[in-house]
């Protein structure tokens, strides 16, 4: 914990977990999609479902999808802004299961060019979040550092391809996870990095045989959505 976690952050209320964390979930989901959001189906689970409206969790997630940050005073007006910006969204409540943190949201996104992404993320306290599922695969990362997610066919060699590219680009790996649906099926690696990965290197990965999808969460600000 840093001093800025104790005196700060500057945020729109009322709750660091239910409001600020929810903005971050929306914001990280949008950046994972890496393009403007055309439509979003948002499902609130647990305490988000029970007290989300009173805490503005619903408006906070939509604000994040529009590219707002936790201190944006337009957060309470995000529904109206979404309408104006042509972001089509729906909100429902559902029980995602006991394995999920009480403050969890599932977001199904479609981007303006048709890209689809499903993100499940939890607000774990003090405005901090954790992305726990991407496209149905269990993952775990904070979204606080550049993160590369490569979905590939479960076969030998893909980890070496990706990590040698990172070595070539002088990107240091902070943490790495490997997950798969089943042997020889869909697999994913989640790599949290200390440096940004150059855009052309991310693009190069998409052309590799056996790579299904490449998602990259950059810490650099994407073009504003609102």
């Amino acid at each position: 914990m840093l001093l800025s976690d104790i005196i700060g952050p500057v945020m729109v209320g009322p709750s660091s977990s239910h409001t600020a964390g929810a903005v971050r979930i929306g914001n990280v989901a949008r950046r994972l999609l890496a393009e403007r959001v055309a439509s979003a189906r948002i499902t609130l689970h647990g305490s988000f479902r029970a007290t989300g409206r009173g805490h503005g969790t619903d408006r906070a997630i939509v604000a994040g999808l529009l590219g707002m940050h936790v201190d944006d005073s337009r957060i309470p007006d995000s529904f109206e802004i979404a309408e104006k910006e042509g972001l089509d969204f729906s909100l429902t409540g559902a029980d995602l299961g006991d394995s999920f943190h009480p403050n969890t949201a599932k977001i199904d996104l479609t981007g303006v060019s048709g890209t689809e992404l499903e993100v499940v993320a939890s607000s774990v306290g003090g405005g901090r979040i954790r992305v726990v599922q991407i496209d149905g695969l269990d993952v775990s990362f904070s979204g606080e550092c550049p993160t590369l997610i490569v979905q590939n066919v479960d076969q030998p060699g893909h980890v070496a391809e990706v990590t040698s590219m990172l070595e070539h680009k002088s990107v240091n790996i902070a943490a790495m996870q490997l997950v798969r649906e089943n042997r020889g099926g869909k697999a994913a690696m989640v790599i949290e990095c200390d440096q940004e990965i150059p855009a052309e290197a991310v693009k190069w990965l998409t052309r590799l045989e056996g790579v299904i999808k490449v998602i990259y969460l950059s810490m650099e600000e994407p073009e504003s959505g609102v």
Partner: protein, 293 residues
């Protein structure tokens, strides 16, 4: 990161510097930033605290309708010269309500240490600047003092209602404000720690029992209690009164009490005021009309 108030006090005393200084230097080290950058952050926080007060809207209600407009009532009573408390204390009360109500109404605030307790530290410090005319630099230094106390509480105990009950939120905010005020008024590092300890002691055992799980009832009004408690605690410490239990041990007691608190009293909205007949009615009403389904 400091693990005890004694550690900060010893370091400040040894080097002959005020309490806030080691806290700032530690922040520079942790984040790998210069003193100038750290001070710039803290000044930004100070300005945001002041703005969180001035942007109060006296007509605004929270989305549940449970809170809002109360600071305006205190303001009107002050205007009529009817307050029981003196003008300084009354100003603190009004500010604590303004900022805590603004938080509940989705306006911009500074979490210090949490959003639910965001009114305490600025209510005390903005009123102190208004009364004694400290410059903004002195106020940024006071925020380091508050932050140092908060860091130690976070390290030894916790700052979240879900973990330690309201004592961890309003109690910690009150301790941070008391110490910062004592420091501003010339109190030594030891006096600062005792002001914080006296404030926290008074709020030990406070349950986190928000009605319908919202940061509204009783959170908003408890910001007033935390702020006024900080004033009396700073006065005691500055008069030379000491907590018989050493400050770090008071923090440990807070942690121990939090651990023994039933989960219904730790931000679940299932115990205490939330479980009263009226609390349950409000909850049912909100769930019936405003759920996400």
């Amino acid at each position: 990161m400091y693990h005890s108030l004694k550690q900060i006090t010893d370091e400040a005393t040894e080097k002959g510097v005020p309490f806030w200084k080691p806290v700032m230097l530690d922040d520079c080290k942790e984040q790998g930033i210069s003193e100038e950058q750290s001070l710039q952050y803290m000044d930004g926080i100070w300005q945001a605290m002041k703005t969180s007060e001035t942007e109060y809207d006296p007509k605004l209600k929270s989305r549940s309708g449970l809170v809002g407009t109360d600071a305006a009532k205190i303001h009107a009573r002050r205007e009529r010269n009817e307050m029981i408390c003196d003008d300084f204390t009354s100003a603190v009360i009004e500010r604590a309500l303004k900022i805590a109500e603004s938080n509940a109404c989705m306006k911009r605030i500074v979490a210090a240490p949490t959003a639910g307790s965001c009114g305490v530290v600025p209510a005390v410090l903005i009123s102190a600047q208004e009364r004694w005319g400290f410059d903004d630099r002195a106020m940024a230094e006071a925020l380091y003092t508050a932050g140092g106390i908060g860091e130690v509480i976070a390290c030894r105990a916790c700052l979240a209602g879900a973990e330690g009950g309201c004592q961890a939120e309003i109690g910690s905010a009150s301790a941070m404000a008391a110490g910062a005020l004592a420091g501003l008024l010339g109190g030594s590092a030891e006096t600062i720690c005792h002001a914080a300890a006296l404030a926290l002691k008074n709020l030990l055992g406070l349950a986190c029992d928000p009605v319908a799980g919202l940061v509204e009832v009783p959170c908003v009004k408890r910001n007033v209690t935390g702020a006024v408690n900080a004033l009396t605690s700073a006065d005691l410490a500055l008069a030379g009164i000491r907590s018989r239990i050493p400050p770090d041990e008071v923090i440990d007691a807070m942690k121990a009490i939090g651990r023994r608190m039933d989960s219904t009293l730790r931000e679940t909205g299932e115990g205490g005021l939330a479980a009263t007949p009226t609390g349950m009615l409000i909850r049912a009403h909100i769930a019936g009309t405003k759920g996400a389904d």
